[in-house]
C-alpha cells in the first residue's frame, strides 16, 4: 500500500495538483503494468469456454468412469492449450494490487483529521516532495473525492461500466447452471458496486469507473465485443422452456469463428459491429472475413 499511496501523491503533484487526474493516472498505469496478466486471463477464459461442449461430451460419454473423465479432460486441456486455473491465477496475482490501491486511496484522501494524521506513517521519509503535497485537494469536477457522490451520476457510471465489462466477459454456456450463475453475476456485481459507490468516497468510485473502462477497452482489443456482441447485432435470444430456463446456445464452433471474425472486424475499424442485425448480412461478412483471414 505504501508505494501506491506515495505514487498517488507524486502523481498529484505532477498532474497539476488534481487528485482526480492522479487517480485516473495511477489506475491507467496499473492497468498497463498488469496488462499481460489481464490478457492471459481473458484468453484463458475464452479458451475454457470454447472447450466446454467437448468437456460435457466427455462427461456424458464416460459418466461411470471417473478416471477416464480425468484423463480425457486433461487431454482436452493439453490439446487446446488451456490451463484450468489460468483464468484464476492472474486474477489472484492482481488482487493484492487492487486491494492496496483501494486502501491507499482511502488513506490519502483526508476525509477527517484522523485520516490525515495517519497518512504521515505512509509517506516515505526520503521522498520529501510528497510531504509538501498533503493534504491533497479532494475536489474534482462536481465531486468531493473524499465523500460519496450524492448526485447518482458516478454510482450509475460505476454500475454501467461494470455491467458492460461483465457482459463482454460472459461467454455463452451450454450448462444451464453456469448460465444462471453468469446471469446472477452480470447483475449482482454492478448492483453491489452501485451500492458501495453510495457509501464509499467518490475517489474510489472514480477508480472503479476508470478501471472498468480500461477493462472494457482491453477486452475489446483482445476478443472484440465478447458477450456483448449478441446484444449489439442480434435479436434477443429466446429462452428455452423448461427447468433450466436458459437462453439459446450458439454452436461452439460458430462461437470460435465469431471470435476469429472479430479480429478482422477490428481491422476494418469495427464498422461491421455497427452495421445492423440481419442474418444474411452477417453471413456474408463472415464469408468475407474468413477469406481475409486465410490470406
Amino acid at each position: 500500500m505504501r508505494p501506491l499511496a506515495n505514487s498517488l501523491v507524486l502523481l498529484y503533484l505532477l498532474l497539476f495538483k488534481n487528485f482526480g487526474l492522479s487517480i485516473i493516472g495511477l489506475t491507467v498505469l496499473i492497468r498497463i503494468a498488469t496488462m499481460r496478466l489481464t490478457l492471459k486471463q481473458i484468453k484463458s477464459t475464452r479458451a475454457m469456454s470454447t472447450i466446454q461442449p467437448k468437456l460435457k461430451e466427455v462427461q456424458a460419454r464416460y459418466k461411470n468412469d471417473r478416471q477416464k473423465i480425468s484423463q480425457e479432460t486433461f487431454r482436452l486441456y493439453k490439446e487446446n492449450g488451456v490451463n484450468p486455473i489460468g483464468c484464476l491465477g492472474p486474477m489472484v496475482i492482481q488482487m493484492p494490487i487492487w486491494i492496496g490501491l483501494y486502501w491507499a486511496l482511502i488513506r490519502v484522501l483526508p476525509s477527517s483529521p484522523e485520516n490525515l494524521a495517519d497518512l504521515s506513517k505512509l509517506l516515505y521519509s526520503w521522498l520529501s516532495v510528497v510531504h509538501t503535497a498533503v493534504p491533497v485537494e479532494s475536489s474534482f469536477l462536481w465531486l468531493d473525492l473524499s465523500s460519496p457522490d450524492k448526485s447518482f451520476v458516478l454510482p450509475l457510471m460505476v454500475g454501467a461500466s461494470m455491467w458492460l465489462q461483465q457482459k463482454m466477459m460472459t461467454y455463452p454456456s451450454q450448462d444451464p447452471k453456469q448460465q444462471q450463475t453468469q446471469q446472477m453475476m452480470l447483475w449482482m456485481m454492478p448492483l453491489m458496486f452501485i451500492f458501495f459507490s453510495f457509501s464509499f468516497p467518490s475517489g474510489l468510485a472514480l477508480y472503479w469507473v476508470v478501471s472498468n473502462l480500461m477493462g472494457v477497452a482491453i477486452q475489446y482489443f483482445t476478443t472484440g465485443w465478447g458477450g456483448l456482441r449478441p446484444a449489439l447485432t442480434e435479436p434477443p435470444l429466446a429462452p428455452i422452456s423448461g427447468q433450466g430456463g436458459a437462453a439459446a446456445i450458439a454452436e461452439p464452433a460458430e462461437e470460435l469463428n465469431d471470435d476469429e471474425q472479430r479480429g478482422s472486424e477490428r481491422q476494418n475499424g469495427g464498422r461491421s459491429d455497427r452495421a445492423g442485425s440481419k442474418a444474411a448480412r452477417r453471413k456474408a461478412r463472415r464469408g468475407r472475413n474468413r477469406g481475409s483471414q486465410s490470406r
Binding site: S111, P113, L116, A117, S120, K121, H131, V134, P135, M192
Partner: protein, 386 residues
C-alpha cells in the same frame, strides 16, 4: 434455485455490513479537548459531550475521583453535539464594567449545510449550570478551538473561512456577525492565536496569516512549505509555527518575514510550546526538539519518544510532558531532554495536554481523563467520560 436464493440472501446481508465498515473508516470520531479555568477542568469528550470536574482537591494528597459539578451536557439519552477536535473555550462577555455569565464555547466537526439532522456546530454552554445558552452554526466542520478576542468569538472552518461572531451581554442571545468572514487559501484547522489585537493562524493551503482582530483585514500572509495544522506560538514579536513539510518556521510577527526555519524528521502537527527561552516542538515521527530563539538545537540530540505526537506538550517548572499516539506519557528534562518518567495510559492521546502547577491532565481517545502528578510521578485518578 435454493442455492441461488441463498447466494442472494448472503449478498443482501453482507452489503450493509461492508458499507457500514467502510463508512466507519472515513468518519470523524473526534479526539476531545480539555480546558482548566480556576479549579474546574472542562472536558469535551470526542463524541461531543461536555463535563465539568472539580480539581481543587488534586493539590492535596487526595487521589480519589474528582467531583462532577453538573450533569454532562447533553444528558444521557440525548444526541451528542458531534465530533470534537479542539479544546472548549471558557469566556464571558465583558464591556464597560458589564460582565456576563461565563460560557463554555465549543465547536464541532459537523456541517449543518450537509446534514439535515444537524442544525448547529457552535455552542455556548453555561459554565455554572451546564445548560445550553445558545447553539449557532457556521458553514463547514470545525477542527480548531474557538478564540475569544474581546467580545468576538473567532472560529476557522474546513471550508477555508475564518468567522467572527460578536457575543452579547445577554448570554442567551445568539451571536451576530462581527465582521465579514476572512477567506483563507485552504482549510483552517488551526485555532487562531491572539497577540496585541492580531489573530495568527495557518491553513492547510500552506499559508500563515496575520489578521486584524477588530475588522478581519489581512495584515500579512506568508507561504510556508506545507500545510499548517497546529496553532502558532506568538512570543516576543515572533510567530513560531510547525508545518507538515517537516519544518518549524519562525516569522516576524509584524511583517511575516521568515526569521529562520528548522527541519525535523516528520510532520510538525502539534503546536510548539515554550518556557520563554526555548521552543519545544514534537513531530509525528515521535521526536521532540528543543530549539533556541535563533533556531539552533539546544539538546545534544533530539529525544525519541514512543510514538507520533499530535497533542501539544506542556512545559512544567523543570520538565516537559509529552503524550503519544502509542499510549504513553513521557516526562523529559527541559535541560537535556533526558526521560525522567513515563507511564502507559491504555489509549492514544491526540488532544492537547493541560496543566495546573505540576499536575497534568490528559484525555485519551476513549474519553478517559487522566490526572498525573509530575512532581511525585504518580497517576492521581482516571475519570471515564463515557
Amino acid at each position: 434455485m435454493k442455492r441461488r436464493l441463498l447466494w442472494i440472501s448472503v449478498l443482501v446481508l453482507l452489503l450493509p455490513l461492508i458499507a457500514s465498515c467502510g463508512r466507519d473508516r472515513f468518519s470523524a470520531h473526534g479526539w476531545a479537548g480539555l480546558t482548566i479555568d480556576g479549579d474546574v477542568l472542562y472536558v469535551a469528550a470526542g463524541e461531543g459531550r461536555v463535563t465539568a470536574l472539580n480539581i481543587s482537591r488534586d493539590a492535596g494528597d487526595n487521589r480519589g475521583n474528582p467531583e462532577r459539578l453538573w450533569t454532562p451536557f447533553p444528558a444521557d439519552g440525548q444526541d451528542n453535539l458531534g465530533a470534537v477536535y479542539g479544546a472548549p473555550l471558557v469566556g464571558a462577555f465583558a464591556e464597560d464594567g458589564v460582565v456576563g455569565s461565563t460560557n463554555i464555547f465549543l465547536a464541532t466537526y459537523e456541517n449543518p449545510e450537509d446534514d439535515d439532522d444537524i442544525s448547529a456546530n457552535l455552542f455556548a454552554i453555561d459554565a455554572t449550570t451546564g445548560t445550553q445558552n445558545w447553539a449557532a452554526s457556521v458553514p463547514g466542520p470545525v477542527v480548531g478551538s474557538p478564540t475569544l478576542v474581546g467580545n468576538t468569538l473567532v472560529v476557522g472552518t474546513t471550508h477555508g473561512l475564518l468567522y467572527a461572531l460578536a457575543i452579547e451581554s445577554d448570554e442567551r442571545a445568539l451571536p451576530r456577525s462581527a465582521w465579514r468572514e476572512f477567506e483563507a487559501d485552504g482549510k483552517v484547522w488551526s485555532a487562531a492565536t491572539v497577540a496585541e489585537g492580531t489573530l495568527y493562524f495557518g491553513s492547510l493551503g500552506h499559508t500563515v496569516y496575520a489578521v486584524n482582530a477588530t475588522d478581519g483585514t489581512e495584515i500579512w500572509s506568508y507561504e510556508v512549505g506545507g500545510a499548517v495544522v497546529g496553532s502558532p506560538l506568538v512570543m516576543d514579536g515572533t510567530v513560531y509555527v510547525g508545518a507538515l513539510d517537516r519544518s518549524l518556521y519562525a516569522l516576524d510577527a509584524n511583517t511575516g518575514d521568515q526569521k529562520w526555519k528548522f527541519s525535523g524528521d516528520n510532520w510538525f502537527w502539534a503546536a510548539p510550546v515554550s518556557d520563554g527561552r526555548t521552543i519545544y516542538a514534537a513531530t509525528l515521527g515521535g521526536t521532540v526538539y528543543a530549539i533556541d530563539l535563533l533556531g539552533r538545537e539546544v539538546w545534544s540530540s533530539p529525544t525519541e519518544v514512543s510514538g507520533s505526537v499530535l497533542a501539544a506538550p506542556v512545559v512544567l517548572s523543570n520538565t516537559l510532558i509529552v503524550a503519544t499516539d502509542n499510549k504513553q506519557v513521557h516526562q523529559l528534562s527541559l535541560s537535556d531532554g533526558r526521560e525522567e518518567w513515563s507511564i502507559g495510559i491504555g489509549e492514544m492521546v491526540r488532544a492537547d495536554i493541560v496543566s495546573q502547577g505540576e499536575r497534568v491532565y490528559i484525555i485519551d481517545t476513549e474519553g478517559v481523563v487522566h490526572a498525573l502528578d509530575a512532581d511525585r510521578r504518580i497517576e492521581l485518578w482516571t475519570y471515564p467520560t463515557r
